[in-house]
């Protein structure tokens, strides 16, 4: 089992704060109905936040590969469910 560096949780928490502020700024100043690029950047930022929490706070970085594969498969189906649900909500 690999040990976590003491500064890692603080670094991840700081990244979460910075990324959230960046998402909010992008949504406030650049979000429009004519372009989807801002939406994509916000979605990528949110995905990177989730990945960092999953890797460090949910310990995936320190788990055996089998567990990581299982988590990735679960994430795939969770994203699929959200995307399909969005289609239903929109109509």
């Amino acid at each position: 089992v690999r040990k976590m560096n003491k500064t890692t949780p603080v670094a991840v928490w700081s990244y979460l704060v910075v990324a959230t502020l960046l998402e909010w700024t992008l949504a406030k100043n650049f979000l429009s109905l004519t372009t989807i690029y801002t939406n994509i950047v916000i979605a990528v930022l949110a995905a990177s936040q989730i990945l960092s929490v999953a890797m460090v706070f949910l310990r995936l970085k320190y788990e055996p590969r089998g567990i990581v594969g299982l988590a990735a498969a679960s994430l795939f189906f969770a994203v699929l469910a959200v995307v399909l649900a969005l289609g239903s909500i929109g109509h």
């Binding site: 998402e23 916000i42 989730i50 999953a54 706070f57 909500i89």
Partner: protein
Amino acid sequence: LQSLQTGKSKSLSAYWELTKPRIVLLLDFTALMAFLVAASTINIVRLVAVIVAGTLASGGVGALNCYLDRDLDRTMGRTSRRPIPQGEVSPVHALVFGLALFGAGIVVSAMLQIGLPLSSYFVTTGIHGAHVLAGIFLIIYLVRRAATGGFYAERYGTVENFNLYWSFVNCVWLVVFPLFYLL
């Protein structure tokens, strides 16, 4: 195996009895008649949703009634055969079952009332808020237990499990925030 199956079906039957199905049927019949009289055109989806919401809510209230009257029920011949006095369902299980059914009925009713997009918002943020609230209570419990020396190097499983729960709730928020408040 046969005794296990018998036990399971007996347990299911006890939970079914908790909902007071005959009263639920009567209420559903009343709701159906009111719907048919009031609606100018019959929307089958709405009709089914009304029946489902009514069944869940009234069944839940029936179970809550059994929970609240559990002491009185023991003293009267007719009600002493109900699942809680008979020991087939514990009072706590009846309470949780009743609240869950009633909550599900309210959710279905809310979806009928406000439409799918808004109800999705309220259901998602409401459930997330409930998890955050539960997490706050757990943090208070953990801090109090830690202050009295409840955790040490060989015994920290509860803290570790809470960390997994809280981090997962965090992940959910990271989806909910941009989805509902930014995009």
